[in-house]
Symmetry: C2
Subunit: 102 residues, 2 copies
Amino acid sequence: MTKQVEDCPIETTLKQISGKWKSVIIFRLLEHPQCRFNELQKLIPECSRRMLALQLKELEHDGLISKTFYPVVPPKTEYSLTERGKKLKPVIEGLQEWGRIN
Amino acid sequence: MTKQVEDCPIETTLKQISGKWKSVIIFRLLEHPQCRFNELQKLIPECSRRMLALQLKELEHDGLISKTFYPVVPPKTEYSLTERGKKLKPVIEGLQEWGRIN
DNA sequence: CAGTATCCCGGCAGATACTG
DNA sequence: CAGTATCTGCCGGGATACTG
């Protein structure tokens, strides 16, 4: 029943931030706490709209970011980190620090 | 010349530990400092021999693990974390902690 | 503006067989 | 034991067009 991978939750945890663009999105949202869809696009121009939408959806599903939708015309959305997402800050910074040092 | 992604090194850094099996391998090598190829296979049974070899090669290339080859018969190898790899310990633990809390 | 739908291709990764 | 070689199928992700 219990598989090895489940005993090693680091894998599951890492998946939540290691999608093709997730870390960058989180990183950007740490710098820019409130972002609209197109703002994120401009901040991460290499990421296609399709992928941005998909990754945002996963991040939202995993409770790392939250999305506020304003049903105005034209439509407006705002993405920001949840409390859970913000708690990643020291970890992300630790990673950066590690990357910088080597 | 300079692309956005290069200004955001977290992405590069994360890639070094977010291959399909890298985090698990690092994790296992933190628990078991010296591992032979087949030992790692047994510790991570869901990972094919092919993938294990590929991921190990990348980890070695990135300087996270080192490989010692003993030209005996039958051949014997030993994988372990480098100093650089060991420095990831607090980060990995931070990730685990974050994953545990939520 | 903020996405979704659809088509399509290259490359990731499994299975299997082989080697020093 | 510790890998590599090859073949193949699948799906991640780009490009483009469309929608509320």
